[in-house]
């Protein structure tokens, strides 16, 4: 009975979704020129950033990004709170993944390469595909690999907390600096330089690097918390 109602509900939802989106191929949007042309234009002419997505994420819609790293921060904090226990033994692993020597040696070899790739991705976020989120998550997967391969591999919780907090604080402080120098929060107040240089785009690469550090620290901490959850 319940399934029947749900299927009926899904049929209605599906009809409306198909109705709203499938027509787009035929008729197209009612407003031809949205905000995207402006973004594509200004990214080259004013911000001197090659990657339009980076310029949107960090500059045009930078406030969203600030909110988003906050969501991640809150999720990491919430995870610690939900799984919190008073008698907390540090270093105790709830889930052990037994691994062979080949996996261990391989992980040790791969780990620096993965971290290096992540760093490359977020430093070059304004020039090529990638950026803070992508680089940060790549670094977190590197730490994840080490955590899975070695039972005794551990990350200092305090160091993660420091990186996370300082990256967040500097993000907001850059926003205030923009307010002080240019009048609005998160304004790009540094000289933009020439396009396709590593040092171009004003504060965009700096902010994205901070986002990268923050995301990497938060995701690593999140995985670490879940992995060290022990049934009492």
């Amino acid at each position: 009975m319940k399934k029947l109602i749900v299927i009926l509900l899904l049929a209605v939802t599906g009809y409306f979704l198909v109705d709203s989106f499938m027509d787009l191929g035929r008729t197209g949007p009612v407003v031809e020129t949205g905000v995207k042309d402006f973004y594509l234009d200004k990214t080259v002419s004013e911000l001197k950033v090659a990657n339009t997505i980076t310029s949107i994420v960090v500059n045009f819609r930078g406030f969203d990004t600030l909110g988003e790293v906050t969501v991640l921060f809150l999720a990491a904090t919430a995870l610690g709170g939900i799984l919190y226990k008073r008698r907390h033994h540090v270093g105790e692993r709830s889930v052990l993944f037994p691994s062979s020597p080949i996996v261990r040696a391989g992980s040790k070899l791969l780990f620096p390469a993965i971290v290096l790739l992540g760093v490359y991705v977020f430093i070059h976020g304004h020039l090529s595909p990638g950026g803070g989120f992508q680089g940060g998550t790549i670094i977190a997967t590197g730490f994840l690999l080490m955590l899975l391969a070695y039972d005794n591999f551990s990350v200092s919780h305090n160091v993660l907390s420091f990186i996370e907090s300082f990256a967040g604080i500097f993000f907001v402080l850059f926003g205030f600096a923009g307010m002080w120098a240019g009048g609005t929060f998160l304004e790009n107040f540094l000289p933009v330089g020439t396009m396709n240089n590593l040092f171009s785009g004003g504060i965009i690469p700096i902010v994205y690097i901070l986002v990268g550090f923050k995301v990497a620290a938060e995701l690593t901490g999140l995985i670490y918390t879940v992995l060290h959850e022990k049934e009492s």
């Binding site: 109705d19 009612v30 045009f60 406030f63 906050t70 305090n158």
Partner: protein, 498 residues
């Protein structure tokens, strides 16, 4: 003007990132800093409310890009009123729970205060932002804080209440994203004012679909009828002050987002009737459920849902008077319901089950708390001369001017139901004998201050409702005036050529 609207978001975020570091230096800081931040938010938004009343709307652009392209914050009379109300309530809740978990556990206390602060900041963000995707991000911030606070106690039911809340929240945020996708695919913009100015180009069918998905996305926070299954459980299982914060802060943000959609963004003709119908169904279902409850907080939660239904009915009347009445109701509900939650959680502090019958005879042992609870009960059912009377009266007048007699009758019948279940509790407090084994809890000083401030406000509004009428009139005029909203936001942007 003191400060700028962006500080209302940026300062709490900065503080949230700093608290883990500061907590390593001195543990007391994790309690003090959120209080200072909330006090700053309250003072700043109150002074900006003053400025806005005299000088008109503040539009704050972010990252140096004007309205349709960048994100902007709108601090109009309406949003200023709601932001002030929310930050004030946040401060009261902080004051009430200042000694929370003191000397017991450092880690949970730290998390509690971070989440409380972010709950307020997220709700303020929902209200003052002028961009639908930004609003989605703030809804998620508020949501994750609320899930974590609901699951705060380690008992078995709190995780379940939180999971229920999270499940509904995740589904509704999916609906919100779909609605954003529909809007963006048709209009190519995410700015609220820009959408409002272009919405008439959109085919009517898509408009209705998008509006329904929006309502599904936001209705969870606004506690409208089919989406409020989480509310009684979350209110019951969360720590006492958090119930007050949900009723006073989160719900108000949800209601604002919803009426902003209906009044400003969409020009769908039947939307007012939808609001009215939803409100009536919510009102009747919740009030009839409230009378059957045995736990005090559950009863208060259902009563809260019912009040939100009444607010939607008032908005659904659709006239300026109706909006005024709805905003007045929101103000009163935001003050009275937290008082009931705070004093109610004091009354059942030491009982295991938190049942209504466990408050028997506490009037003699906890006179102050009991008086405040009785005051809140009288005020919320709408007895003169307390605050709730004036708001209910204005709803009835607004409905009468439109000739909606059926609605007036329904509201009066529901008020009778409210009187029955609130007076049942008050009766038990004063005229029953106390159970032998129950130890009354003496409220702490900070709790007493927090509750008496709320009680004083109820009396002030009750005896002199004119103190808030200017602010409310400005706010309701602001909500009705869509062209002015569009002009305010876009006027700077239009002159920029791209």
């Amino acid at each position: 003007m003191v400060g700028s609207p962006v500080l209302l978001i940026a300062i709490p975020l900065l503080a949230a990132f700093m608290i883990p570091l500061l907590g390593m230096i001195w543990k007391e800081l994790v309690r003090i800093i959120p209080g200072l931040v909330l006090a700053f938010m309250m003072i700043s938004s109150a002074s900006m409310l003053m400025y806005v009343t005299n000088n008109g709307t503040i539009i704050q652009t972010l990252a140096g890009w004007e309205a349709p392209w960048g994100i902007n914050l709108v601090f109009s009379p309406l949003t200023a009123f709601l932001a002030t109300l929310m930050t004030f309530m946040g401060f009261i809740v902080w004051l009430y729970s200042y000694r929370f978990k003191r000397n017991v556990d450092f880690e949970p206390a730290k998390k509690y205060f971070i989440f409380l602060m972010m709950l307020v900041a997220g709700a303020v963000g929902i209200v003052i932002t002028g961009d639908i995707f930004n609003q989605f991000v703030f809804i998620e911030i508020t949501g994750i804080s609320a899930y974590a606070l609901t699951a705060f106690y380690t008992g078995r039911n709190s995780a379940e209440a939180s999971f229920k809340y999270l499940l509904m929240g995740a589904l509704s945020s999916s609906a919100l994203l779909i609605a954003i996708a529909i809007i963006y695919s048709q209009l190519g913009t995410l700015n609220m004012a820009d959408i409002a100015s272009k919405i008439h180009l959109m085919p009517a069918g898509y408009k209705v679909t998008a509006l329904i998905f929006f309502m599904m996305g936001i209705g969870i926070e606004a506690e409208i009828f089919p989406l409020n299954g989480w509310a009684p459980d979350a209110y019951t299982e969360a720590p006492g002050p958090i119930g007050a914060a949900f009723a006073g802060i989160v719900v108000k943000a949800g209601v604002y987002a919803m009426v902003r959609m209906v009044f400003t963004l969409f020009d769908v003709s039947g939307a007012m009737d939808i609001l009215l119908t939803i409100g009536l169904i919510t009102l009747i279902v919740a009030e009839t459920a409230a009378i059957r409850q045995e736990k005090l907080k559950r009863m208060l939660a259902y009563s809260s849902i019912g009040q939100m239904g009444l607010v939607f009915v008032a908005f659904g009347i659709g006239t300026l008077e109706g909006v005024y009445a709805a905003l007045f109701l929101m103000l009163n509900h935001a003050i009275i319901k937290p008082l009931l939650f705070l004093s109610g959680s004091q009354l059942v502090f030491n009982s295991k089950e938190k049942l209504i019958k466990e408050v028997n005879g506490l009037g003699k042992y906890m006179p102050f708390t009991a008086v405040l609870f009785a005051l809140g009960s009288f005020a919320i059912v709408g007895l003169p001369p307390f605050a709730g009377f004036w708001s209910k009266l204005s709803v009835l007048t607004a409905a009468a001017n439109e000739g909606m007699l059926l609605i007036i009758a329904l509201i009066l019948i529901v008020s009778v139901i409210e009187i029955v279940y609130y007076f049942r509790v008050v009766n038990r407090i004063y005229f029953f004998d106390k159970a032998e084994d129950l130890i009354p809890q003496k409220p702490r000083v900070n709790a007493v201050i927090a509750m008496s401030v709320l009680g004083a406000i109820i009396l002030i509004i009750g005896f002199n409702p004119d103190v808030v009428s200017t602010v409310l009139h400005n706010a309701s005029a602001d909500l009705m005036d869509t062209p002015q909203y569009i002009k305010n936001v876009l006027s700077a942007g239009q002159s920029l050529t791209n």
